[in-house]
Symmetry: C2
Subunit: 324 residues, 2 copies
C-alpha cells in the first residue's frame, strides 16, 4: 500500500511526524510512504528504502482561510493531496487545519455519490472495557440538514461494522432528552428519518452523559454539537486527570498511596488517553483521509498512522460505496 503524509501541518511541525513515520515505515517495509514537506527539515528520512520525499515550500496555518488553502498550491497539504491522487495512494494524513483538510479533500478527492457533506468520525473509549463508540460529525460542518445527519448515520454504521466487525451497531441521535419529541425541529425530523430507515438499528435519542457508558455504538450529530460534545468530554477527562494527580500529591500519605495504587491508575490513564486514537477520519470522501490532532505528539501521530493503515487495509471506502 502507499500512504502520503503531510509532514508539516501540526502544531509541533516535522519534529513529531519524522520520528513517528520513521518508526512506522520500519514496521511496514512492504508499504511506501510519501513524505511531503521542507526537504531540508526532512533530511533524516533520506535514503530509507520505503520512504519517498516530496518537496513543498509553504505550510498552511491552523486558522487558514479555505480560499487561501486552495490557492497556496506550494503548501505541504496541497501537494500531499495531489500526491495522493497522482500516485494512487491508499491513505492520506495531515495534522494541519481541519478546515483546510476538509476543503482540499472535498475539492480534489471528491465526495462519494449520495453524500452532500463529509463528516469527521472517531472512536471513543467507554466505561465498558474494550468497548468503543464512534461519533460523527465532530466538526467538519457548522450546520447540517436532516438528510446530512441521515448520511452520517449510514456512514457511521458502516464504519462501525467494518472496523469492529460488529453486525448491527446501535445508532443514537445526540439530543437534549430521550423522548421522541425532544429537541428542535432538526432533531425531530432527523429522528423520523432514522427511525424509518430499516437498514439502521436506531435506538433513539441519546443525551450527552450517556455515550461514555457504552450504551450506543454510533452517535449521530451535527458538526457544531458534535464538536461541543468532543471538546467538553476531552476537557472534562483532562481536568479530572489533573485533579487525580493533585489528589495524590496532597501530602506524604497520599504520595505513598500513589505508589500502592499506581498500577490501577496507569490502566485508567491508558484507557482514557485520547492519544491512543490520534485522529479522525473524514468520511464521505473518495479516499482514506485522516485528520490527526493538531497538537499531535509521537504517540498520537503514530496512532493516526495506525488508524489510516487499518482503514486502508480494510478498504473502507469501497465498502462504503457499495453499502450506500
Amino acid at each position: 500500500m502507499k500512504f502520503v503524509i503531510d509532514m508539516m501541518g501540526g502544531d509541533n511541525g516535522s519534529k513529531v511526524t519524522i520520528e513517528a513515520v520513521l518508526e512506522f515505515a520500519k514496521q511496514h517495509l512492504e508499504d511506501t510512504f510519501y513524505c511531503v514537506g521542507n526537504i531540508d527539515e526532512l533530511s533524516s528520512l533520506n535514503g530509507i528504502n520505503n520512504i519517498i520525499l516530496v518537496p513543498s515550500k509553504t505550510v498552511l496555518k491552523m486558522d487558514v482561510d479555505p480560499m487561501v488553502a486552495i490557492h497556496d498550491k506550494e503548501s505541504s497539504m496541497n501537494i500531499a493531496v495531489d500526491t495522493y491522487l497522482n500516485e494512487k495512494c491508499d491513505g492520506f494524513i495531515s495534522a494541519g487545519s481541519t478546515g483546510a483538510v476538509l476543503t482540499l479533500a472535498t475539492l480534489k478527492l471528491k465526495r462519494l455519490p449520495g453524500i452532500t457533506r463529509p463528516g469527521l468520525i472517531t472512536p471513543f473509549p467507554t466505561y465498558k472495557k474494550n468497548k468503543r463508540f464512534v461519533a460523527i460529525d465532530l466538526g467538519a460542518n457548522t450546520l447540517n440538514t436532516k438528510e446530512e445527519l441521515h448520511q452520517f448515520a449510514k456512514m457511521g454504521s458502516i464504519y462501525y461494522q467494518i472496523v469492529y466487525s460488529y453486525d448491527h451497531p446501535k445508532v443514537g441521535l445526540l439530543n437534549i432528552g430521550s423522548e421522541e419529541e425532544k429537541g428542535n425541529d432538526l432533531r425531530k425530523e432527523t429522528y423520523q428519518l432514522l427511525n424509518e430507515d430499516k437498514s439502521l438499528y436506531f435506538i433513539g435519542n441519546i443525551e450527552g452523559n450517556e455515550p461514555l457508558y457504552g450504551n450506543v455504538d454510533v452517535l449521530v450529530t451535527d458538526g457544531f454539537s458534535g464538536n461541543i460534545f468532543l471538546k467538553t468530554m476531552e476537557g472534562s477527562c483532562k481536568v479530572m486527570s489533573l485533579l487525580i494527580k493533585d489528589a495524590f500529591k496532597k501530602n506524604i500519605l497520599t504520595k505513598i498511596g500513589y505508589l500502592f495504587s499506581k498500577k490501577g491508575f496507569d490502566e485508567l490513564k491508558e484507557r482514557m488517553d485520547y492519544k491512543n486514537v490520534g485522529g479522525a477520519m473524514l468520511m464521505g470522501i473518495n479516499g482514506v483521509c485522516i485528520k490527526a490532532h493538531g497538537n499531535s505528539d509521537f504517540k498520537s501521530f503514530t496512532s493516526a498512522l495506525n488508524m489510516c493503515y487499518s482503514l486502508a487495509k480494510k478498504d473502507i471506502v469501497s465498502q462504503i460505496k457499495e453499502s450506500l
Copy 2:
C-alpha cells in the same frame, strides 16, 4: 422571607423533599415554607411552626406536555406557582419537569421586561480551587436567536456579579473554535453583538474543553448546545469517578493505596460533586425560580434550597431588572 416548594415533582418524590425541607426550615426559623403536595404524604410536616402545608391532587410527569402542565390545575407544581403569586413569596423550587417549570413560570410569573426567552443558569466548579463559572442557557430553549444569546450574556454577567461579588466577569461564547469567524452564522452574529456591548467584558469564543480550567466566568450558549455541554461534562466526570473507584479496587495493593490517599480523593469528590449545586435558576422570569435536579437526593435538594435562599436574599430579580 417566604418560600414555596413543589414537594412532589422529583424522581424520588416527597421522601427526599420532606427530609430536606424539615432540616432547612429548622435552620431558618424566621422564614416561612409553603409545602405543596399530597397532604397525607406530607403529614410529618404537620405542626411545625414555619411550615404551611398546601394541598394538591396530582403530580406532573417528567415528560409532561406543556399544554397538560397548564391545564392540570390541581398539580403540585401549578398550585406551587399560584401560591408563589398569592402569598407574594420570595422563592420557588421544583424538581419536576423542566419544560413544565419553564411553561408555568413564564405564563404566571411573566418574563422580565426586555427578555424574550428565559434561560437556565447554574454554577460549575473548575480546576481552580474556589473558582466557579456559570453557563446560560442549559436547556430551557431548543433554539435561540442572537438577541436571546445577548440577553443571556447580560443576565449571566449580572448573576455572576451579584452571586460572587465580582465586578467584571469575563463573558465567553461557546463555539467550535476560538477565532472570531468560527462557527455558524448565529455564532458569528452573536460574537459581533457581544463585542459591541461595552457593558460586557467579552473575551471571545470559548471551546468546550476550556471552561473547566476556570478561564471564563460566564459561558453564553443556546439551550441546545448548553444542554449537550452540561450533560457531557456531568457524564464524563461521573465515568471518570467510576474509573477511579475501579482503579482503587483493582487488587489488594491498590486497596491499601486507597487508604493512604483517601483524604486527597475525598477532597476531589467533594469539589466535583454536582450535588453541591443542586439546581439551576430560571433567569429572565419575574421571580426566583429554581429547577432542582430531577433525581435530587437529600444533599442536592438541600443545595437547591440554599441556592434559592441566597438568590432571594440578594434580591437578584430586582437587581437584574435595574441592570437591564
